[in-house]
């Protein structure tokens, strides 16, 4: 390097003193440390977006409640009236509202995380930070909105005949666990989505399938009463599981099974493979 008559060549084995390679995946420890150091960015990015929600529409943030309510109204007509679920399920309106509002939190988190990297091309091509902050920030945004809508849900089910009890305090915990699980799954999708964009087209159908498999607007218990094995298997998947727990907490016993409780704490471990998978995709997200 002291020879100024020619361009210094880089020794591939021993990089020049003090220089660090660019565009190499950081070690996991560094990645976590760097992500933690920028945690306020993820938070502010999420809450900045919360502030901007509904600015484009006349009814604004009212849509946060109107959207699931209208959904619930359609399901009520189709499944409650047409398929007469309202006769078979006690407090069907409360049952349905809990299903729609809680499921929506998981579904929106999954979808938002999925699009968080491929949908932020400008940010990725101008700022350098651990990309895992994007799905996390997108998730925080959905969690914040979800917690607000859950509060509104409680008021609504009061009118639908549910009675408050101490178990209602468990609802934020159930939502948090469901959220972590959905975010973990969403992270895995997010990286796949940067390579195979077709996933974005496919996702609405997958979440629809998830919705029907989670008993949002009907009781899986009644539907599958003659197929016990299938019922147990389907009740173990996160959608059905957290809805069962939410209904058990809000409407009283008869919705969940004991083994769903430990499983509810196991599913959020999906965050670990999710985070690992996102980290492994560095530093190639700039290609989107």
């Amino acid at each position: 390097m002291t020879d100024t008559t020619q361009q210094p060549r880089i020794d591939p084995v021993r990089p020049p003193f003090g220089l660090r390679p660019v565009g190499k995946r950081p070690r996991a420890v560094e990645y976590i440390r760097d992500s933690w150091a920028r945690r306020y960015f993820a938070l502010r990015f999420a809450f900045g977006r919360v502030r901007l929600t509904g600015e484009a529409t006349r009814l604004g943030r009212l849509w946060l409640v109107l959207n699931p309510l209208l959904n619930a109204a359609v399901y009520y007509l189709v499944f409650g009236v047409l398929f007469s679920q309202r006769k078979n399920i006690p407090h069907f309106i409360a049952f349905l509202l809990i299903g729609v509002f809680i499921f929506r939190i998981g579904e929106k988190t999954l979808t938002a995380a999925n699009a968080s990297i491929s949908g932020n091309k400008d940010v990725i091509q101008s700022l350098s930070f651990p990309r895992i902050l994007l799905p996390i920030s997108a998730g925080i945004f959905e969690l914040a909105l979800g917690m607000v809508s859950a509060g509104i849900l409680l008021v609504m089910i009061l009118f639908a005949g549910a009675r408050p009890n101490p178990y209602w305090l468990l609802l934020p915990v159930i939502i948090l666990l469901f959220w972590l699980t959905s975010l973990g799954m969403g992270m895995i999708l997010a990286r796949i989505n940067t390579q195979v964009r077709d996933l974005g087209e496919l996702l609405p159908f997958l979440t629809r399938l998830w919705l029907y498999g989670s008993g949002v607007m009907y009781s899986l218990q009644l539907l599958l009463k003659d197929h016990h094995t299938i019922y147990v298997l389907i009740s173990a998947q996160p959608g059905a599981l957290y809805l069962d727990l939410a209904r058990e907490a809000l409407m009283g016993p008869g919705y969940a099974m004991w083994w769903q409780v430990p499983l509810a704490f196991a599913w959020p471990l999906l965050m670990l493979p999710g985070m690992w998978f996102i980290w492994r995709g560095e530093p190639n997200y700039g290609r989107v």
């Binding site: 390097m1 002291t2 020879d3 100024t4 008559t5 020619q6 361009q7 210094p8 060549r9 880089i10 591939p12 990089p15 020049p16 003090g18 220089l19 660090r20 390679p21 660019v22 565009g23 760097d34 150091a37 920028r38 306020y40 960015f41 502010r44 990015f45 900045g48 977006r49 502030r51 901007l52 600015e55 400008d122 940010v123 990725i124 091509q125 101008s126 700022l127 350098s128 930070f129 940067t194 390579q195 195979v196 964009r197 077709d198 530093p283 190639n284 700039g286 290609r287 989107v288």
Partner: protein
């Protein structure tokens, strides 16, 4: 996916010797801050679900569409205290080069080393254009890795430098492009990056702001930093840079004193 004959093989083309390589006149022990060796960046047209038209697809079957090779074996080293201009026509690979140095676009082959994270100041929009200038300052600084306390300390300086005191609480999407550029410039320099890359960001500012930005760039260079400046304004390059690099269709065409390189580039532009 493209057939095998469509895939660009690195180094498959005959090497093209640059017209000029004149090593910079720096003291022998000056540390290198950015080292780029034999850098290739390739954008794969078919990958990533990018929109491909029917014509593209037909052309691909006939083996006519190749990967876009944005950089073809570029090498150079930059030193402490240098302001280096990058010149070249549209689509020659200048912005790709900056993004690769910043670690934002991955290299297909070759190596890049830097002594610290290089910050890119481009013409991109704000993080959340619907939020106020104030909130975007905070958000931009957080994204660059500043702590909330750092931001508190530097906030006033950023606003003053941008000269947007009266507009700071308005949403950024109400700003003119010049105002937005001023704020972004102020934000980017607030983190005091050791390596700063300016991509055409001075072009939209007014005369007064350009003077201020020049002073700020000079200041950063003085703080033992390295500034890389992409501009189509040759006066910017010759006034601010001691050295310039000419990138022509992904290749390093010349690397030497700014006035010499600019003259070569302009001569080629005149020839057309």
């Amino acid at each position: 996916m493209a057939g095998s004959e469509d895939v660009y093989t690195i180094g498959s083309e005959a090497p093209v010797e640059p017209d000029l390589i004149q090593p910079p006149d720096v003291p022998a022990d000056t540390p290198v801050t950015v080292a780029v060796e034999d850098l290739y960046v390739i954008y794969k047209i078919t990958a990533g679900g990018r929109q491909v038209t029917r014509r593209d697809r037909a052309a691909m079957k006939r083996g006519r569409v190749q990967d876009v090779v944005a950089l073809k074996g570029v090498s150079f080293s930059l030193y402490h205290g240098q302001t280096v201009g990058v010149v070249g026509g549209n689509g020659s690979g200048k912005s790709t080069l900056l993004r690769a140095i910043g670690g934002l676009t991955p290299a297909a082959s070759g190596r890049i080393y830097t002594n610290s994270q290089a910050a890119l100041l481009g013409v991109h929009s704000a993080l959340l254009p619907g939020l106020s200038g104030r909130e975007n300052i905070e958000l931009g600084c957080l994204a660059m890795g500043l702590t909330p306390r750092d931001i508190e300390e530097r906030y006033q300086g950023i606003v003053e430098f941008s000269g947007l005191e009266q507009f700071i609480d308005l949403p950024m999407n109400t700003y003119s492009s010049g105002m937005g550029a001023r704020l972004r410039f102020a934000i980017s320099t607030a983190a005091r990056p050791k390596i700063m890359m300016v991509d055409e960001a001075l072009a939209v500012g007014d005369t007064k702001f350009r003077e201020k930005s020049r002073a700020r760039i000079e200041e950063m260079r003085g703080d033992a930093g390295t500034v890389i400046l992409v501009s189509h304004n040759m006066a910017d390059i010759t006034d601010m840079c001691s050295r310039a690099i000419w990138i022509d269709r992904g290749r390093l065409r010349a690397d030497g004193p700014a006035d010499v390189v600019v003259e070569m580039y302009q001569a080629q532009q005149r020839r057309g």
